[in-house]
Amino acid sequence: MAGSRLSFSPSVDLKKEKPDEMVTSGVLASLQNFLRKCLIAVLSYGPMPRHIAFIMDGNRRYAKFRSIQQGAGHRVGFSALIANLLYCYEMGVKYITVYAFSIDNFKRDPSEVQSLMQLMEEKINELLENRSVINKVNCKINFWGNLDLLCEPVRVAAQKLMASTAGNTGIVLSVCMPYNSTSEIVNAVNEVCSERREMLQREHAGYGNGHAAKNGAHSEISVADLDQHMYSAGCPDPDIVIRTSGETRLSNFLLWQTTFSHLQNPDPLWPEFSFRHLVWSILQYQRAYPYLEQNRNLAKKQM
């Protein structure tokens, strides 16, 4: 496991650090790293989540409280995302899903939507050029959502990033943008219908094993059929869903996949969400784990 030499905190811009400060900060950073690793070792004694989902709420409020521009709030939010990605990697979390942009967010002010799109394009291109973060955690990046709703440059950049990281086997980061759980379900229904139609067409044309095709095309659609066509197919259900800034709703995020997920809503805003909040979140999960696991096993037995 690659130890991270640098502690990622949104308030530190490493390019602007003076050389003479780097020595002391290097020693401090090493101490921080060591303590962090010890804490992670203790935490790992208990059950650790495999998949954490984040609803990154609070960027605009962060900007407002600090009297900075809204765009800057989202930028700090992006740094927080990378920092948490690295912390989760250190903790052994294999899958991370983040709610970057909802289809409902298109209702916002057009200038705000455009600046968000520009920020996403910029950050995706940055990740494509400077692959240090991706390579450090061997990250595979997915984009879940209706990509057709995005403008051309962002969509092309996202597809390029997906293609270039498709072969990576480390942590899996799924960015939901632009995403709605209900539109994901409708998309799955459309795909299943389309599949059935093809099976029927093949049947009419006389191809394939008639008996098997008949069963497939005319059998009832099951929950498992829909599961296979969700964006999250192949990914386990989230163990924890964290919505920052204290809001208690899911806002149309992963409603299908969160049957037994531990829902948490810590008070800090997303740019403030750091290592200690993540540790607290995992401790809460460990306390809820016996109950959730029991229910999950019961549900599996009944299927």
Partner: protein, 271 residues
């Protein structure tokens, strides 16, 4: 959080870790694991003590609220609360007396529509006879609400019981309906246009299979952990979810506090 279940879990994990020790460095490995386990146990013990203290303060606050001493909880503005959902852990749902009491309290507070949910369908079985008899609107009498409550408030209350089969399986049924209508509607075989269902189509299909219903504004979760346990996805989009703790220790003051917090919430709906 069930501390007994937690202790059982820790006890079950210790032999697993001991068995996993690599043979060539077993003793130091075991000692290290035991130290980590001890530290982990100490952290969780500290959290349990902290939770106990928080629970005491919470219970005190609930008592003060129900005795009417805290001014801000006296008048609740429930205009935005059109319907409320209650998710109960299936084991606790067998305690029908508590459920009836809960419905009674909510009815006195002025809630008009309550949706009861538990994943295994225990509530459906318990309340089905009452529901069958309530078609003419006498839900209040069937649920045994006392005569001291004013006649009008419980007569208006509508209670709906749903279970896990109305969640994902309900969506699968609706998908099936859409699919069969699509496939049967155009039997020319080739040259059919791609299926392009919208969310509105799905919503009407859900209604047609009996899984439609109002989207609750607030969801109260009674159980050991904060988890929606498969509540129907189409009705959970913008619902505020609040965890109330185990059903056996439910308190009137806690519900008042939850409704008050709900009335203070503000939603952008994405904007």
């Amino acid at each position: 959080m069930d501390s007994k279940a937690m202790e059982a879990f820790v006890a079950s994990q210790a032999p697993i870790f001991l068995n996993q020790a690599p043979p060539h460095m077993s003793r130091p490995w075991i000692i290290l694991k035991l130290i980590l386990g001890l530290l982990w146990g100490i952290i969780h013990l500290a959290i349990s003590l902290f939770n106990l203290w928080s629970l005491l303060i919470y219970n005190l606050e609930c008592y003060l609220i129900s005795s009417g001493l805290l001014w801000k909880y006296r008048y609740l503005n429930l205009d935005r609360l059109k319907s409320l959902a209650i998710v109960v852990d299936s084991k606790e749902a067998k305690n029908t007396m508590k459920i009836r009491q809960l419905l009674c309290w909510l009815s006195t507070m002025g809630v008009k529509y309550i949706c009861l949910y538990d994943i295994e369908g225990v509530l459906k079985k318990s309340f089905e006879p009452a529901m069958k008899g309530s078609r003419d609107g006498k839900a209040g009498e069937y649920l045994g609400i006392g005569a001291s409550i004013s006649h009008s408030s419980h007569k208006d209350l509508v209670v709906e019981c749903i279970s896990g089969s109305d969640g994902k399986e309900g969506i699968a049924k609706a998908a099936n309906l859409l699919c069969s209508t699509y496939l049967n509607g155009d039997t020319h075989g080739n040259g059919k246009r791609e299926p392009a269902f919208t969310e509105a189509d799905m919503a009407s299909s859900l209604k047609a299979v009996g899984c439609g219903g109002p989207e609750p504004d607030l969801l109260l979760m009674y159980g050991p952990a904060r988890c929606h346990l498969g509540f129907p996805a189409w009705r959970l989009r913008y619902t505020e979810i609040m965890h109330m703790g185990p059903l056996k220790s439910m308190k009137y003051g806690a519900i008042v506090k939850a409704l008050y917090n709900f009335s203070k919430k503000y939603q952008n709906y994405g904007k």
